[in-house]
């Protein structure tokens, strides 16, 4: 049972995370509310009285038509081409509308609690499927309006809609989730499947976690952050990429703090800023767990910049793009020093740490290329 102080802290962090993500929450609910209004308008338009149809025609024609087109007459023209809705379609609209109405802005709906010992992935999956009901309802509305809703084929749309069935635009407008989870249950590797579109997840970890649980979720297009500072969540809120952040309930020395921002550079080490890399001693905390060490090693490898190119006669050089700023190289070197885990700060050999560069260098060395670079002759 968490102490009262811990619960207060978690509540406070939840509130601050909700504040940070308010724009996204509002955007999602605005879209749902718009869908709700659209359903109501459609029912009116396709089943309503003539004068209502005129009003609706004016809305559909937009402000440009005001004073220029007689909406009542225009509505009469439409009657020729557009048949009224069937009672089955009206029923679908009604059911969809009650689902959409149920989504009226409730920020708490975006907060998910993982039961102690529970599965983080399952909790997120279930919460997203529940939000998916709004998307399913909107899709059902479109089908009903088009006259193609079939209860057998489409009935599931009026229930939970799993994230895997969300389409691109829906994922782009995905509702953010704030997930409260015990530190020891914070095993986020399975969340990768949800990091698509513009979905963002904030994991509020109560209690110690592994040092860098999110390090394995770092991919070029994903915003990933570990922090104890709720203010930092503003960066997550603003990203145009899918994102996940762990907000630690306490600032503990054994937990890495970092940000991987897809917009910050082209290479992984350019996008990754490590504010705190746990030391070997901190990682072990007295009991050396291989997975923990691996997490840190993985993070360190990702953060490390390739060394400056050194041409060695007889071997091809691996060029570092000019765009690589010197300060990033320095920062990467600092990470090594701060970590103190025995990883060499700079390599005496002119080999790149980037596996792709190393492979490219090896391939070039195997190729029977004549020329200045291969022969060691000075380049112009």
């Amino acid at each position: 049972m968490p102490s009262e102080a811990v619960m207060d802290r978690t509540t406070d962090l939840t509130g601050r995370a909700l504040d940070s993500l308010k724009g996204r929450i509002d955007a999602f609910h605005a879209a749902v509310a718009a869908a709700e209004r659209e359903v109501a308008a459609e029912v009116l338009r396709r089943t309503g009285e003539e004068d209502v149809k005129g009003e609706q025609a004016l809305i559909e024609l937009g402000p440009f038509a005001v004073g220029r087109i007689d909406p009542d007459r225009f509505a009469q023209l439409l009657g020729v081409a557009e048949a009224p809705l069937t009672s089955e379609a009206v029923d679908v609209l009604s059911r969809a509308n009650s689902i959409l109405t149920g989504f009226r802005a409730e920020p708490e709906r975006h907060v998910v609690d993982v039961e102690p010992g529970g599965d983080l992935r399952d909790a997120v999956k279930a919460a997203l499927a529940d939000f998916g009901r709004a998307y399913g309802a909107a899709r059902a509305v479109e089908l009903a309006r088009a006259g193609t809703f079939d209860e057998v084929a489409h009935g599931h749309l009026l229930g939970p809609l799993p994230f895997r069935l969300w389409h691109r635009a829906e994922r782009q407008l995905a509702p953010p989730l704030i997930v409260r989870v015990r530190g020891e249950d914070c095993l986020p590797v399975g969340l990768g499947e949800f990091l698509d579109g513009n979905l963002v997840l904030v994991l509020i970890a109560g209690g110690p976690t592994t040092p860098a649980p999110l390090s394995r979720l770092i991919t070029p297009g994903t915003f990933v952050m570990q922090t104890a500072d709720p203010e930092s969540l503003s960066r997550l809120a603003e990203t145009e990429h899918p994102g996940v952040a762990i907000l630690f309930d306490e600032d503990r020395p054994g937990q890495a703090h970092f940000v991987h921002d897809p917009d910050a550079g082209e290479a992984t080490w350019g996008r990754l800023t490590v504010d705190r890399m746990p030391s070997e001693a901190e990682v072990g905390r007295g009991r050396r767990v291989p997975m923990w060490v691996e997490e840190v090693e993985h993070l360190r490898a990702l953060a490390e910049a390739p060394p400056a190119p050194v041409s060695t006669p007889g071997t091809p050089s691996v060029a570092v793009p000019d765009a690589v700023p010197q300060e990033r190289r320095a920062a990467a070197t600092k990470v090594g020093a701060a970590g103190g885990s025995g990883v060499a700060e700079t390599s005496p050999e002119p080999t790149s740490v980037d596996p792709v560069d190393r492979l490219a260098a090896w391939l070039l060395s195997q190729a029977d290329l004549d020329g200045p670079a291969a022969s060691g002759a000075p380049e112009e």
Partner: protein, 634 residues
């Protein structure tokens, strides 16, 4: 690159006298060689002014070539920004203040009579001491040419000053100029800095930092060296405003209208619609398709609409010509389609960067055979936004083609307008895909309106062969001689049915008088300003602005009958009475004039210009004075 950032607060206090002129309306031009950022400077200045609550209208001055020879009068590239206390609807007459990056660009504007007689000119003076003899000679000759005018020329060492911040001042002096203008017009520096940051948000942070430095430098220099400032009080709107150009408005309008596919091929001045869509369309579920050519773009749009979406294609005059065949197919097969034509000067490649309204007749009558459809022309940047919703809805309701005629003036002009209060009702309605009722045919024209229900591929019971050949109600190729007559009647009738829903246009001014000026499209602001001034002089003049051009709205003949004379004012070509060989019979008239004469049988005169620039209210006023029947003063 060394960056030295001066601070405004560190400036030496000015010792000289400064005259601040309170004015309600002022325009400024910034002119340079291509690529020196004059337009960017003006856009930021205009946007900041709009955000401060001023009325704003900008017009870009774009040379005919992408990269004309530097320091040439014909190569002048720049922007005019007209500011006002109230709504500004056009670019005005001659400009009062010019910032010129070289004397040749200035000469270009001087020779086009773009400058007021007493204009103040801030002129880069590095050319006076340029190491190249030829450049110095040009400078001297230019200054001699300008000497006879009444301009007040103030030499400004722009590049020399900019060296304090950047190594290559040619790449940054536009921000120095922005600083000068910010001081002259009392612009909010914080707002300007924000706008700079927004403008360069996709560039390295150093670009914004340097630009801020140059802004402060220009501001400081102006405060220490200039002796005049302008104060244009702003009337803050109680509604939130947005600031954009017409092409951006069309792009956002397409999103708001629920259009789902934009197919295009790049063409000046229409391309930036697709640039904006490229940034935002996908977020809203839309697709921008750049086809291999104009014809393919039209084909893709027609195909998408046929499949049940509502698509649109964007082009300019030469592209409209290429799309003709596909527009005919859409009209014949009754596939809804919206076509945006951002008009430029023509024919052929013509004046790609200049404004004209010469596509009207091509838009209305351009398709071979009888191809009735709808043509509509927004008159303001705000209307560029809203027209897209109407166009999409009309296209879908009538199963027809709607051509939206914008032009280069609207396309690049920036003006504020009230933020639209979005409605989900503007969005496209999903196509009805229910099984087709037994016996219903794909062209079961309602005999009263000519409208038929739209069939979507895949609809149960709706299988039919689509053909551009003349066809009957069942889409069967016409072998019966009466079929084409019947189908043509129905396609025409639905346009007539739509015309019956249009309201008569509203006259600006009295409904009777000596002269009625009729316009369409982007000339509205200039015409109405000229009318206001003419009425101020006691002339009995009114104006009428048409937005629906095919079909024309009802009641025109009755409106015309209230006036002694009716005259269109347009940016297209017409023969001038009295020119060699020109008679009343063979005179080629303004395009709207021709259209109105044929539809109303009223002797509608015209006054038109094709100078490659928007009409000036003063010139329209002069034409009104000349055209008004004798004894026309009230």
């Amino acid at each position: 690159m060394a960056v030295k950032l001066p601070t405004v607060g560190d400036a030496t206090p000015t010792q000289h006298e400064i005259h601040t002129h309170a004015v309600a309306d002022k325009s400024v031009e910034i002119v340079s060689d291509s690529g020196e950022g004059a337009q960017k400077c003006g856009q930021i200045f205009g946007t900041v002014s709009a955000k401060m609550g001023n009325g704003v209208w900008t017009v870009e001055i774009i040379p005919a070539e992408v990269e004309p020879p530097p320091r040439s009068p014909a190569g002048a590239s720049g922007i005019r920004i007209r500011l006002g206390s109230d709504l500004v609807t056009n670019w005005g007459d001659e400009t009062n203040l010019v910032v010129a990056f070289n004397e040749q660009a200035l000469l270009g504007r001087h020779r086009l009579n773009a400058l007021a007689d007493d204009a103040t000119i801030l002129l880069e003076n590095m050319w006076a001491t340029h190491p190249d003899d030829a450049v110095r000679a040009q400078w001297e000759a230019g200054m001699e040419e300008l000497a006879g005018s009444g301009y007040r020329i103030i030499e400004v060492p722009m590049e020399e000053e900019c060296l304090a911040v950047v190594d290559n001042p040619r790449r940054g002096k536009n921000m120095f100029v922005l600083g000068m203008l910010s001081w002259i017009y009392h612009r909010d520096l914080d707002l300007t800095r924000e706008q700079i940051a927004e403008t360069f948000r996709k560039k390295a942070p150093e670009v914004t930092e340097r630009s801020h430095g140059l802004l402060d430098l220009g501001y400081t220099w102006a405060s220490q060296n200039l002796d005049f400032r302008y104060e244009i009080p702003a009337a803050q709107s109680d509604r939130p405003m947005v600031v954009m150009n017409g092409n951006e408005a069309i792009a956002f309008g397409a999103v708001a209208a629920g259009l789902e596919l934009a197919a295009m091929y790049p063409i000046t001045p229409a391309t930036s619609v697709s640039h904006m869509l490229g940034d935002v369309f996908e977020t809203f579920g839309g697709v921008v398709h750049q086809a291999e050519d104009e014809i393919a773009a039209a084909g893709v749009a027609v195909g998408a609409s046929y499949a049940g979406k509502c698509a649109f294609t964007i082009t300019s005059g030469p592209g409209l010509a290429l799309k003709t065949e596909f527009l005919g197919l859409a009209i014949m097969t009754e596939i809804p389609l919206v076509v945006v034509d951002v008009q430029r000067g023509g024919p052929s490649t013509g004046l790609p960067t200049k404004v004209e309204q010469s596509d009207l007749l091509a838009a209305v009558f351009g398709q071979p055979g009888d191809a009735p459809h709808v043509v509509v022309a927004p008159a303001t940047i705000e209307e560029c936004f809203h027209v897209m919703t109407s166009a999409r809805r009309i296209a879908e309701a009538l199963r027809t083609v709607v051509i939206v005629l914008s032009d280069a003036n609207l396309a690049t002009g920036v003006a504020p307008y009230p933020r639209p209060l979005m409605s989900e009702g503007w969005q496209s309605i999903p196509a009805d895909q229910r099984p087709i009722p037994e016996g219903l045919k794909p062209y079961d024209w309602d005999p009263a309106t000519g409208i038929s229900r739209r069939f979507i591929p895949g609809q149960v019971g709706g299988e039919h062969t689509v053909t551009g050949l003349a066809h009957d109600e069942g889409s069967k190729v016409a072998y019966d001689s009466a079929v084409n007559e019947r189908a043509s009647t129905m396609r025409s009738r639905k346009i007539a049915a739509f015309q019956s829903t249009l309201r008569p246009p509203v006259v600006n001014g009295d409904t009777t008088g000596d002269l009625l000026v009729v316009g369409w499209g982007s000339t509205k602001g200039a015409i109405e300003e000229a009318i206001d001034r003419a009425r101020g002089e006691g002339l009995r003049v009114s104006s009428l602005h048409l937005t629906f051009l095919s079909p024309l709205p009802p009641g025109l003949k009755e409106i015309f009958s209230g006036f002694t004379k009716v005259m269109t004012v347009e940016i297209n070509y017409s023969d001038k009475p009295g020119d060699p060989f020109i008679t009343e019979q063979n005179r080629r008239r303004g395009q709207l004039s021709w259209l109105l004469r044929s539809s109303t049988l009223v002797d509608v005169d015209c006054w038109t210009r094709v100078l490659g620039e928007p009409l000036r209210p003063g010139r329209i006023l002069a034409a009104i004075r000349e055209s008004i029947p004798r004894g026309g003063r009230a």
